[in-house]
Symmetry: C2
Subunit: 652 residues, 2 copies
């Protein structure tokens, strides 16, 4: 029978794999578990279903955990033949996992399969839907092991250096290193390097191991391009298994400047490497899930894979489970990105079922957030909080303007989501309006043409962050947008953004204002700069004023900078959204617009995914061709609108 799936309590797969993931960080030979709260899956649940058998038969149940099966009150063991008569039957399967994993079961028979029609009970008065993944559809599958794909890869070069051998795999990868024909008596020191210099620096390489006692090693997946194996004899064989999620690239971009295509490809490679159980920040160092980083990855995802599953997994991992006593990643702004992201996920996908499932958690998280604001309902610093926004210096001596604009957008998101689940969102809307009026009164400085950081310190300090949010989230009118553009964005006297993280938000605001050439210039200078230095993936940070291995230094560590960081994939979104110009105009792309903007490119070819099908745009010699793989598209070009028919190329 088809469509049988392993089932578990929905959300617990993500909680479990989040715990596993967040236990894997290591640094300079020391374990480095995450310090924010993780939430365990239920140790035991009961799976239930009433089923109506057309005829008598039997089935077997596979289980991960300790379990029995009760059919109409009669008890059976897993992996035994369980008979039933024609007609209605009640099945319940209590499962207990005492080892920190999560209960899951699988049935694939003529009359009965496990699928989303089952329900799951932990405490007796609460029912949960079950979770499934199409990857877990065979009785031998084990949802406790995240299913990656593997591909053998080999060094493209090796070089003896002193007592060891340096292997170069040609480009950044994440793989399970295999060492064969080693010497059992030998103790090996193994250094991983995202750069050659890191692999050769046993004192400062972030990831290094000591191996002994075996002649063959099959190591856990780690990030590297280079590895150095100290004490390696020439006979040793080193290879690796590239470990990855087989997500399909559904986008592409090239233009008259061939460098841009190379940048785009390296961005896609970078994003692929960081798209695993969840969206990671970077693959070498943290390998953690950060809500701010993930927020940018959701965007890139919709312009490369349009894979809803990884977005949902990431949201569930970040949400954890109530009761909440901390912000997401302990950061106030990261809580708010997560709530806003759920609304944006809905707008991009129309997936109201997912919203309904996360709604109680979103409400609990919002209540935690709202319970800690000040007497004016401003988000402020409370013990245990981290008011982050960005690493740049800003005036955080009182409630910070950027937090308040996020909070306003969070209330808007709560209003939208409330309506969606059939609740009245009017309160949230009213609160948002009140908050907006306050923010404009307290933080807008007409003289400076900008929002100031803080209204209580008297310093009237201006940074870019709140002003960028004001544009991104349509917080201000056209008049103020122009003022912000001139007084902040284009004003060199306002400290420039220093992190690529917030740089992405700034570029989004340029995109929103139609200033595509600013984005294109930045891609050439910043992303091009990394490639010109030999980067095979996009770095966490790049400062053209640095030299040599100083590029690799960050957080006070010689090789602290991640050379493969998800937020480096910005051009995928920026080019797809603002150059190819595809975006939804209704929930789930029921309608969408293609609004190409070549900017400085003389010609370009771009493909952008829709939920189903793709949009292909070609521009050359002033001529534009657009093909959309779905209904609902409109082309907007040089002030004119054209209806796009599915799979029919329109040339204008």
């Amino acid at each position: 029978m088809n469509n049988a799936r392993w089932i578990w309590c929905k959300g617990d797969f993500e909680l479990y794999h989040s715990i596993q993931l967040h236990s894997r960080r290591e640094e300079l030979g020391v374990e480095y578990p995450v310090m924010w709260a993780l939430y365990p899956p239920f140790p035991n649940v009961v799976f239930r279903k009433k089923f109506n058998a057309r005829r008598a038969g039997s089935f077997q149940v596979s289980v991960r955990g300790k379990a029995y099966i009760r059919v109409d009150g009669e008890k059976y063991a897993p992996e035994t033949e369980i008979p039933f008569t024609a007609g209605e039957h009640d099945i319940e399967i209590p499962v207990l996992c005492a080892d920190g994993t999560f209960p899951c079961v699988f049935i694939d028979s003529e009359e009965l399969i496990t699928d989303e029609s089952w329900i799951c009970v932990h405490a007796s008065t609460e029912k949960y839907p079950v979770g499934t993944m199409e990857e877990y559809c065979d009785k031998n599958d084990n949802p406790h092991i995240f299913k990656f794909s593997y591909e053998p890869i080999f060094p493209v070069a090796s070089e003896r250096i002193g007592e060891g051998i340096l292997y170069d795999f040609g480009r950044e990868t994440f793989a399970r290193l295999q060492i064969e024909r080693g010497d059992k008596e030998q103790t090996y020191r193994l250094c991983y390097g995202e750069s050659r210099e890191e692999a050769l620096d046993a004192q400062n390489a972030i990831i290094r191991l000591t191996l002994a006692g075996q002649d063959r090693y099959d190591l856990d997946g780690r990030a590297f391009r280079f590895v150095f194996l100290e004490n390696a004899a020439d006979s040793v064989k080193v290879r690796a298994n590239y470990e990855y999620l087989p997500l399909k690239d559904r986008a592409d971009f090239s233009c008259n400047n061939p460098e841009i295509k190379k940048i785009w490809d390296v961005c896609a490679h970078t994003f692929h490497l960081n798209s695993r159980e969840f969206f990671l920040d970077g693959i070498k160092r943290d390998r953690w899930v950060w809500s701010g980083d993930a927020y940018q990855s959701y965007m890139a995802n919709n312009y490369l894979f349009f894979d809803n599953n990884i977005t949902k997994r990431t949201i569930l991992a970040l949400l954890g489970k109530p009761p909440y006593a901390q912000h997401v990643n302990t950061i106030n702004d990261y809580t708010m990105y997560l709530i806003i992201a759920v609304k944006e996920y809905y707008q991009n996908t129309g997936d109201s079922k997912f919203v309904a499932f996360v709604w109680p958690r979103i409400c609990a998280l919002y209540e935690f957030l709202a319970s800690r604001t000040d007497e004016k309902d401003y988000v402020c610093h409370r013990s245990g909080d981290w008011i982050f926004i960005d690493w740049s210096p800003m005036d955080k001596s009182g409630p910070l303007c950027a937090e308040q604009i996020l909070y306003w957008q969070t209330k808007n998101a709560m209003a939208t989501l409330s309506e969606l689940v059939g609740e009245d969102g009017g309160n949230y809307t009213a609160e948002a309006e009140k908050l907006k009026a306050q923010i404009l009164r307290d933080y807008w400085n007409e003289e400076k043409g900008a929002f100031i950081d803080c209204h209580t310190s008297g310093k009237e300090n201006v940074t870019r962050h709140a002003n960028i949010f004001a544009i991104l989230y349509d917080f201000v009118d056209e008049d103020k947008i122009q003022k912000i553009y001139e007084s902040v964005l284009e004003n060199d006297a306002v400290t420039p953004i220093t992190t690529p993280y917030f740089e992405f938000f700034e570029l989004l605001s340029y995109g929103k204002l139609g200033k595509i050439q600013h984005i294109q210039d930045k891609i050439e200078s910043y992303w091009g700069g990394i490639l010109r230095l030999g980067g095979t993936s996009i770095w966490e940070q790049f400062d053209p004023n640095r030299e040599g291995i100083d590029h690799y230094e960050m957080y006070g560590k010689k090789f602290g900078c991640s050379l493969c960081h998800a937020w480096g994939s910005g051009p995928i979104y920026l080019l797809g959204r603002y150059c190819v110009g595809v975006y939804p105009t209704d929930v789930g792309y029921k309608t969408f617009r293609v609004e190409p903007n070549p900017g400085k490119y003389k010609s370009f070819q771009g493909t952008v995914p829709l939920p189903e099908g793709e949009v292909q745009v070609e521009y050359a010699d002033g001529k534009l061709s657009v093909t959309a793989g779905a209904e609902g598209g409109t082309l907007l070009w040089q002030g004119k609108e054209y209806t796009l028919e599915k799979d029919v190329t329109l040339t204008v």
Copy 2:
């Protein structure tokens, strides 16, 4: 340095070991995990302490889990020497357990130890106290393994029967069976039996295993007196390691009837076997923690071991952790026993620190309970609930009287506990009074001189249960007590109690009314009856009208009856409380009374524990001697009061 202890997030030790315990049940060769909700420990926490070093030094940290140590911002690995200067230091130790265990750490050095002065943080805004146990005080200890004591035991007889050998260990035990000098090629069937008949009945024995492939087996702890090893050659050696908690018997009882001393000893043995990680119901079958059974065990404990630790562990395991979506063990009455038990624990111990720790959980549990009552605030059946009280038939067609009296007592307990933690309990008291008036109006039937089961069905059915609670919890005045005594307790037309579980409550009510001889008669007939049938521990149920192996049948299973059941230990409490007559008259036995009542015994000798010290009472030839090992005692004898001085024997 002394007093170093492993530390963990308080309560998580109990949650973890409860999951382990509740995964161990097996029945007729099938796993039988518990079906009510279990609650996992936190997978990760941060341990914190500020410490002031008198001089420079160093320390090492042992950890169970992945961890690092941060001292004044500097990172170190576990099991390395961590230096510090004289003066103030901030330490934090994030620990993550990805395998379902719970984080714990240990430091034992000159200047710094782990102890209850540390705090623990899961989510950043909530601090928890740490838990410790004196059993875990060495760096090689592992709190993930519950620490039992072991003692080798040997069969007292063996007998070849067909292809196998039956081993008799002489009396009921719980032990790790060891089989030596076996045959690797042989497949053994092993049957455990609490009775000889069970061990010899491979089809119906509750616990049985198939062993193959080894010549030596060291099996998990299980309950048995007999084991039958099929296919055993004569050369096979069978022995066992008795697995137990080294709790000290601090009580004793004997009288002119030597059978009573034997009964008391078998009760003590039974209670010992069931006192493990927590108070179990029985050691063969469920091995689960049930709040109703545990409620009776708390009482027996105070008259045998007076070990507060096992009571606290049991309460924490039963409480689990909010948010609550089910009753304790899914049973409404069991939720209420638990709340009442916390109040009684406080009254017996004065341990306000424990009450303060569990208070948020108790409040959440009470809120769950109170959120599901009917419009009159009566406890009623809601989906997912189990209105139990007892297996006897009673009129459960509407809110049940026994539940309401428990609810009244629960509100009283909430009032007492509120005051204790510095909150106003006035609301609970007012609600209790209102509820009481309602119960008296709706359920008291003056004509019958009894409370009826149900006031909505019109059936006016009388069972003993509510009437027993009315006496036990001082719900009614002297006049009604007398009526209940005559119309219910002493009225054979009212269906007798059929379970030893509720029989205990009935005997308590006789004790409360001073009818000690009824208790003494029952001990001789019921408990004596089990011993006369060869019982070496007290059974879950005993019906003198049954014969032969029919005694072992229960729940529709040939050997379904547990032959070693905690609730069988009632005489320990009954004799200590009502014959020796020791009970507290102020919190934690600051003052206590000794009110002996020989009843039908011509002479008796009894010892009952106080929190510190014991009370010894000897009665013979009308002469009474009392020695109390603590201050605060008063003797009440033949209507006269005598002050007891510590360690001074008073003879009257």
